[in-house]
Amino acid sequence: MERVILHCDLNSFYCSVEILYDLKLKNQPVAVCGDVEKRHGIILAKNDVAKKFNIKTTDTVYEALNKCPNLILKQSNLKLYLTYSKKVKAIYQDYSDKIESFGIDEAWLDVSDCLSNYNNAFELAYEIKERIKFELGLTISIGISYNKIFAKLGSDIANKNEIYTINQSDLKTKVFPLPVGSLLYVGKSTEKKLDLFNIRTIGDLATTNREFINKHLGKNGDLIWIFANGLESSSVKKSDETTIIKSVGNSTTATIDITNFEDLKIILMPLCESVASRLKDIDCMANCITISLKNSNFESLSKQITLDYSTDISKDIFKVALQLCRQSTNFSSSIRAVGVKCSKLINTNNYQQTCLFSEYNDKDKKLDVAIDQIRRRFGHYKIGLAITSVNSELGHFSPKDDHTIYPTSYFIGGSK
């Protein structure tokens, strides 16, 4: 039996929630942005009126205001958006247990099993759309298809508050004429490469020899060829399935540009503490530590090191991260953003292989655990390392609590 998969995409999600709570903004240009004072001032979402002024997500607030001086800026309220995201997912759960989130505002639903109650998939999708509109006041675009890629494509094509269906028989008429860039995982750089071979539409890609694409674009090329031909067959993950975590990381944009190692230490410490604490939460230790730095010209660099031991101790991670930073920068240009990531995780399940030749420092781990316990009970800022108080403007942040949205990859769904 042909599968029926819906891809539901909430329209201008952050903005729609803000407008829901201030209906006067409905016909005015509105954008949601990060905290300008903390230098997180980029546009995160905008409504249709703002789109007419060519305001784009990731524009800086300054750029956006230049394009539209009357733009109404709302500071993002992540807690509220997460509440609404949960409410939307609860509605999806009335229709299927196979719900795979793709970010905070998008999800795939495999509704093949509950179609018997409806005349067709469109009727079911319409009911979901109307329920979300009535119960939550939000609009949604839905793509209906037989695989996840075309369902996503459908929701991208669909206008605001509309449903778009792509059946297997529609492949040549509806999908093939579309620009190749509209396919998931065909970004600007892949599009440029494909353009060199005169591949401009999905149809061009689908009818090109698979080996040719594979040869020039590698593994990713093979993947997008499969997507273009509608051969993608990965299943929609069940909502209660847990994913295997491959890495744990935190990053932040500093409130002021960092020009020396002392300041860098202040910002690095909370990041390392957060990563170590999250590693302990999932009973994992890491073998590989990566740091990423972004300078004031928005140029990024990252450096990683594989350790000959595993760790989940903040002090260890900090030492290694600082060493990597010393190798990576001499502050010829000031640092704007810093990130720390631990990967090559091993599950400890409360057991651990101690290092054969160097001593495992139990004391530091006990200290970490004690700090975590105090923070859990009394709040993050009740206890902290003195280094973070040297410059409270830089060190006063809690990456673990502040960072609640995890980037989603299509591949987590078990397709590759």
Binding site: L20, Y21, D22, L23, T83, F134, E135, L136, G137, L138
Partner: protein, 76 residues
């Protein structure tokens, strides 16, 4: 943004909440004579969303919303 109001409720042992009285801005307490319907809904007049109670108050029908444990009235 909505203006919220005080509401006196009955919390049943099953975990359901039934509003009994609303206290208007002027401090006057009005009895809710009957709850005609209860369903999740968005407020189209004042904004927000939550559990919507269609209430009969002194022969007037009004929507009473519970949005995350805060209450507001929407005209029908």
């Amino acid at each position: 943004m909505n203006e919220f109001i005080d509401v006196i409720c009955f919390n049943s042992k099953d975990g359901d909440i039934y509003p009994l009285y609303i206290i208007w801005e002027n401090g006057i307490k009005y009895q809710i004579d009957k709850i005609l319907q209860k369903c999740p809904a968005a407020s189209l007049k004042h904004g927000g969303s939550g559990m919507r109670y269609t209430c009969l108050i002194q022969n007037q029908m009004r929507y009473l919303f519970n949005d995350n444990n805060r209450w507001f009235i929407d005209k029908i």
